[in-house]
């Protein structure tokens, strides 16, 4: 079933971390397996934020060897960073298996190539990379994840989030949303639905050289968006094109550094409730999530079939 949520503040920063937590907690009944956030903070010029997953949560129960293995993986990642001229400004580990680096990269290093080299180490997945984007996903509900990753204090302009009920693939972090549009800075996707031409589209994307980390159908939307953006297609056109090219039932949200977009399939089979005001736009699978941050009386609408909208931060 899954629940998705998105919000964007126009021209100002707000506590999007705690707002998104409230929205996702209200959607917990749509999917209690895992929760994910893509929150967009204010970028500092020249700084890159990279979030990594070094192992699955379930790997942590596989004995003492796992700690050594994670340390080895960190060493391997940092070697690659050094090779590509990236300097580690700060490093956090909210959980043993997840890392957050703030990097400064000398010159105009090829970030895509660096990302590919980092992922050559087995078990390492880059969850996100960008100037403003922080992508966090883990098992458990929104309150658990936001607590563990300190999201309640996060200030930013916009965010998307996801509560997952695993139907198409496993309950693990690699199949959790949001997905980062590898290797595009600051682009992330959340999705509610099922994609029925997944394998056909996946093989097509793989032939074009894109990487897939999981068997989750939603990852396709991230790769597909990345592919379009790489070919100079605008976010809005990419969303419109996806409605014709991707089969199945879906409602999905895409966030970039300064934009938030939504698309709904031709059958309008998956829900989305939309609230728009002059300074805040909020959307979620159910109204109850929007009301979690806006307790007063508001006017909301349901977008129709094939509807595409893009908002600017």
């Amino acid at each position: 079933m899954c629940g998705i949520a998105g919000l964007i503040h126009k021209g100002k920063s707000s506590a999007v971390g705690s707002e998104m937590t409230a929205m996702l907690q209200a959607l917990k009944h749509r999917g209690p397996d895992s929760t994910g956030y893509a929150v967009y903070g204010t970028p500092t010029k020249g700084d890159y934020i990279m979030r990594l997953k070094l192992a699955e949560a379930e790997d942590m129960e596989k004995g003492r060897g796992v700690h050594k293995m994670i340390e080895d993986r960190i060493t391997a990642v940092e070697e690659v960073l050094a090779e590509h001229g990236a300097v580690i400004k700060s490093k956090d580990a909210p959980r043993e298996y997840s890392l957050r680096y703030v990097l400064t990269i000398a010159g105009d290093g090829n970030l895509g190539e660096m990302a590919e080299h980092i992922e050559e180490t087995e078990g390492v997945e880059i969850l996100s990379m960008g100037n403003g984007l922080e992508l966090i996903k883990d098992l458990g509900d929104a309150s658990v994840v936001s607590e563990a990753y300190g999201l309640n204090d996060f200030q930013g302009t916009h965010a998307i989030g996801h509560t997952r009920m695993a139907t198409e693939s496993d309950v693990d972090i690699k199949s959790a949303h949001p997905y980062w549009a590898f290797p595009y800075n600051d682009v992330s996707v959340v999705h509610n639905g099922q994609i029925t031409n997944y394998w056909i589209m996946r093989r097509e994307m793989e032939r074009k050289g894109h990487r897939f980390m999981s068997n989750c159908d939603s990852e396709l939307l991230a790769v597909y968006t990345a592919h379009n953006l790489a070919n100079g297609v605008s976010l809005e056109d990419s969303l419109r094109r996806s409605i014709q090219e991707i089969d199945g039932v879906f409602t999905y949200l895409v966030a970039t550094r300064d934009q938030l977009g939504m698309a709904k399939d031709t059958m309008a089979a998956k829900p989305l409730v939309l609230y728009e005001s002059d300074d805040l736009i909020a959307m979620a699978s159910e109204e109850v999530a929007i009301r979690a941050i806006l307790p007063h009386e508001i006017d909301t609408t349901d977008p129709y079939d094939e509807e595409v909208r893009v908002w600017q931060a």
């Binding site: 309008a268 109850v288 609408t301 349901d302």
Partner: protein
């Protein structure tokens, strides 16, 4: 049956036995769409176990901090106490509010609800001042529901009777599997509205999305605005004087009468080209029956 003994039944032929057991004389009872409106059968308008409520007795329930089950149980308890007007405050998008109420009640919801609001009801008059989520009034049997703002998809799914009115716009698949009653929408409706409709009437004052009335068996759809496209076997029909009189009466009743009248409405009915289920050879029928 009491007049025939088992011994007598044994003596009879099959034909006589069937008649003696009431084949030609038995009166069918219970709530079907037709007997419900028989004015002589007044006792059939209410269920025997329905609580006796007084519309002038009014009370408020603050839904804040309560679960859906607690609210719905509370409504039942209040009805047992004789409250005929129940006001739900601060619903804030809660799901399944006021479902399964099978007797007279004046239910007022001050705010917006989530999915399945007041579904499976038989009798209450409901007013909702906010917006409703998906499947509002699903499978309602009788009564009225008035929504002041917008509604989600599958509005009035499988509705069998009563009036379901939304002043704003509704989502997709409005009145899917409608089996009776009236759905009135003040604004627009989404794709596949009236999908597999079987009976009843739907009125859309605004525009309708694509595939309107797809695979409808029967029933009537009236659209005031543009129709993006008609579904399979949905055809336009002539708007008769009787239709106009009915539309005028219904829309006036709910304060949704357009300024330009009702002459511009388009009437959509089933083309009945998909009615194949009776076109069997006699030998095939035997196999099925």
């Amino acid at each position: 049956m009491a007049s025939v003994s088992d011994a007598e039944l044994k003596q009879m032929t099959q034909d006589e036995r069937a008649k003696a057991l009431g084949m030609t004389t038995e009166q069918l009872s219970g709530q079907s769409l037709y007997v419900e409106f028989d004015p002589d059968a007044e006792e059939r308008f209410t269920y025997p176990w329905a609580p006796d409520v007084d519309f002038n007795k009014r009370t408020e329930v603050d839904c804040d901090g309560m679960t859906t089950t607690e609210v719905n149980t509370k409504i039942r308890a209040l009805m047992q106490e004789g409250y005929g007007t129940v006001v739900l405050q601060n619903p804030r998008g809660m799901h399944s509010l006021g479902v399964g109420i099978l007797s007279r009640l004046n239910l007022i919801i001050e705010g917006s609800t989530g999915y399945f609001a007041v579904g499976l009801i038989d009798g209450p008059n409901v007013r909702i001042s906010g917006r409703v989520g998906w499947s509002c009034g699903e499978n309602m049997m009788s009564g009225t529901i008035m929504i002041e703002k917008n509604a989600g998809s599958t509005f009035g799914a499988a509705i069998r009777g009563g009036d379901l009115v939304c002043r704003g716009s509704v989502g997709s698949r409005t009145g899917i599997d409608q089996k009776g009653g009236t759905i009135i929408v003040g604004g627009d409706t989404g794709a596949l509205s009236g999908f597999m409709m079987q009976r009843g009437r739907m009125v859309v004052c605004g525009n309708a999305g694509k595939n309107l009335g797809d695979s409808m068996y029967d029933g009537t759809i009236f659209v005031g605005g543009e129709i993006k496209s008609l579904g399979v076997d949905a055809v336009e029909a002539e708007l008769t004087d009787l239709d106009k009189a009915w539309l005028t009466r219904k829309l006036t009743q709910y304060g949704l009468m357009p300024e330009k009248g009702v002459d511009h409405f388009t009437k959509i009915v089933a083309g009945k080209q998909l009615w194949n289920y009776d076109n069997l050879e006699p030998s095939e029928k035997k196999l099925i029956l």
